[in-house]
């Protein structure tokens, strides 16, 4: 079962997304902030990450940049409740596979997750 990490500071959203992913046959692990996730990801690499952009402390963009700096290539779907024109580009530049606005349509989210996983699966040659 593919594993998806959910990184969001809002507990209600972490719970709701975990349920949605589990109901769709995915294994969900959730983290309340960027640092917690980075520590866990160093131990065990998830197949995909659903990453909130605006979080207290470390922002989603900072997480992306840290991963990039560390040379860790992960399949990342950025989600945000506050959409600004230039952030999508910044996230993609920093290595995100998709950028979605909250509230999230389940089909869009699941499609983005599977597309992100396909794009970054190491043993499939492109």
């Amino acid at each position: 079962m593919p594993s998806v990490a959910i990184v969001d500071d809002e507990e209600g959203i972490r719970k709701a997304l975990s349920r949605l992913l589990r109901a769709s046959g995915l294994d969900a692990e959730s983290y309340a902030n960027g640092q917690e996730f980075l520590d866990a990801a160093a131990e065990h690499r998830p197949d995909c990450v659903v990453l909130d952009l605006h979080m207290p402390g470390m922002s989603g963009l900072q997480v992306l940049r840290k991963l990039k700096a560390a040379g860790q290539r992960l399949s990342i779907v950025v989600i945000t409740a506050h959409d600004e024109p230039e952030t999508r580009e910044r996230c993609i530049d920093a290595g995100a596979c998709a950028y979605l606005r909250k509230p999230l349509e389940d089909r869009l989210l699941l499609n983005a997750i599977s597309a992100a996983m396909r794009a970054h699966t190491p043993h499939i040659k492109r």
């Binding site: 719970k15 109901a23 999230l104």
Partner: protein, 561 residues
């Protein structure tokens, strides 16, 4: 020729207004004349108060000038009806019609030169113009005409100058008593009756009962002899002053009219301190007394009205500006507010869609479904709270003082600004003293001040390109004050700019109105507190609010705890 329907309609309505006014003038004139006859001293017929002229002048002062001729014409049948009943020769009746009209016309025309539109007696300037032209010049002019006509026609037996003098003082008293009464009551609306509190009715009743009783005692009851009577003249004064200070020009004009009527009624029936001598002396003394009481009281009422109105206007403008700047601030917050609403909406949608997936599956986990519904309800309530908090800030209303916990206000403001703080990556470090004493204030206005200081701090850090965006909020209390300080890590301000910060329309922000700090300071000052700032250039700024502690009696304090 084409006539537009709208013009026809408008003309139709104007004609109807004129007809009603003319009818009111005719009826009023006739009743006024009947009342004037009742106020005539016997056996030598001297009218002490002749209402028709004053009524006519009041009508002209209130009506557009193009209606004047029609209103004067409307008075003629009423005049003929009233005067011919009393057996006066026709020539004299017509002569008096001319002199009555001349008085109303002189007064109204001269006032209209200086005041456009219907006269309102709510400022000293307008009151002064009315007193000069309506009460002094018009009666003077028409008295000469009146006395001249009487002498010419040979009606009555007084000499010319005596006639001028009695006509003049009678007309002055009538203008002074009746015109303000009609003019102030013309602006009365039934709404005022509905809006008034029972306490107000009780006060009005007390004032008028007081005026009535003191006037009856002083001017009608033969209780006191002539030696004590002069002191009694002042008996109604406290109640008249009460009317002038608390009831406005309308109440004052009504109270004065009541005293005038009671006094004249007494004199006409041979009662009170003015009766007893020759009728001419009675009329003169009484009229001079009533005039000298009425003028200063009317002026006082109008001066107070003017001051009160100016204060009310300024108060209303301040309220509107405060509301405007609050709404502008909420506009700046809109991105953060969208974030705050999107979060619970996301939880609701994802939970609901997860439930759909669960329902489509083979096994139904009732416990899971019930948890999902619980979370949906909680998220929905959170969205409702966001909207509820916003609504309170958007609302426009009178300030409402209540005991408040400053820490709670800080927390409330932080939840309103939460989305904005998160999206601008500002970290808040609250350092709130426990058991802070209560303050008294308007919740919405004080939240507005705090929100303004929070947002200024955020703006200073965003604009300064500061990496570490930290906003410290500290609350402390001393013996008499609660102090809340907001410290940011922005660029601060230069000492020479400090005073400008609090000036209206001074801003360093590209989209700023420049009202925030100036309005915040006026709100805090109105709460008996202080708002000030300190800066370490390059190392941020601190803004402090201090507010007086609510002085609660021990019983109230215990009840609140």
């Amino acid at each position: 020729m084409n006539v537009e329907p709208a013009a026809v309609l408008r003309t139709g309505r104007v004609e109807q207004g004129l007809l009603w006014s003319a009818l009111a003038v005719a009826v009023g004139y006739y009743l006024g004349a009947r009342l004037g006859f009742l106020f005539t001293l016997q056996p030598h017929p001297i009218s002490t108060l002749w209402p028709p002229n004053a009524l006519l002048m009041a009508a002209l002062l209130l009506a557009p000038a193009r209606w004047w001729w029609m209103l004067l014409v409307a008075a003629l049948p009423a005049h003929l009806l009233a005067e011919l009943q009393s057996g006066v020769p026709l020539a004299m009746v017509l002569g008096w019609y001319a002199s009555n009209c001349s008085e109303a016309l002189i007064g109204a025309a001269l006032v209209r030169v200086f005041v456009r539109g219907p006269l309102r007696l709510d400022s000293l300037r307008r009151a002064g113009l009315f007193l000069l032209f309506g009460v002094l010049v018009a009666p003077l002019g028409s008295s000469f005409l009146d006395a001249g006509l009487v002498t010419l026609i040979g009606f009555g037996d007084g000499d010319y100058w005596t006639l001028v003098r009695t006509r003049f003082s009678g007309n002055v008293l009538a203008e002074l008593t009746i015109v303000p009464l009609i003019v102030t009551w013309a602006s009365w609306r039934p709404r005022e009756l509905r809006d008034a509190l029972p306490k107000r009715f009780a006060e009005i009743a007390a004032v008028f009962a007081g005026v009535l009783m003191t006037s009856v005692v002083a001017f009608e009851l033969p209780v006191f002899d002539a030696n004590t009577a002069p002191a009694l003249f002042y008996a109604p004064l406290p109640f008249l002053l009460w009317a002038a200070v608390r009831l406005g020009p309308r109440g004052t004009a009504s109270a004065l009219a009541l005293m005038v009527v009671v006094t004249i009624w007494g004199a006409v029936h041979g009662l009170g301190p003015f009766a007893g001598g020759p009728p001419q002396d009675t009329a003169r003394d009484m009229q001079l007394f009533l005039i000298s009481v009425s003028v200063p009281l009317l002026l006082l009422a109008m001066a107070l009205e003017e001051g009160g109105k100016a204060e009310l206007d300024a108060h209303e403008q301040r309220q509107q500006l405060t509301h405007l700047s609050r709404v502008a601030m909420l506009g700046e917050l809109s991105g953060g507010i969208a974030h705050e609403l999107n979060q619970p909406l996301t939880a609701i949608l994802s939970n609901a869609q997860a439930a759909q997936h669960f329902l489509a599956g083979k096994e139904l986990d009732r416990h899971e479904l019930s948890e999902i519904l619980k979370d949906i309800i909680a998220a929905d309530q959170r969205a409702g709270e966001v909207i509820h908090r916003l609504r309170a800030l958007f609302k426009k209303g009178e300030s409402h003082l209540q005991p408040l916990d400053a820490n709670e206000l800080v927390r409330e403001v932080l939840s309103i600004a939460h989305g904005d703080l998160i999206t601008r990556a500002v970290e808040v470090l609250p350092d709130l003293a426990p058991n802070l004493p209560l303050i008294e204030g308007d919740r919405v206005q004080l939240e507005q001040v705090m929100l303004n200081l929070v947002m200024n701090g955020c703006d200073a850090m965003t604009a300064g390109g500061v990496d570490a965006r930290r906003l410290s909020i500290r609350s402390r209390s001393s013996d008499a004050l609660v102090q809340i300080s907001f410290t940011d890590l922005g660029l601060g301000f230069r000492a020479e700019d400090y005073d400008k910060l609090f000036q209206p329309f001074y801003t360093t922000k590209p989209q700023g109105l420049g009202l925030g700090l100036s309005i915040s300071r006026s709100i805090v000052t109105a709460h008996g507190g202080r708002l000030w700032g300190s800066s370490n250039p390059g190392h941020g700024a601190t803004f402090h609010i201090s507010l007086p502690i609510l002085d609660l009696g021990p019983i109230t304090a215990r009840a609140l705890n």
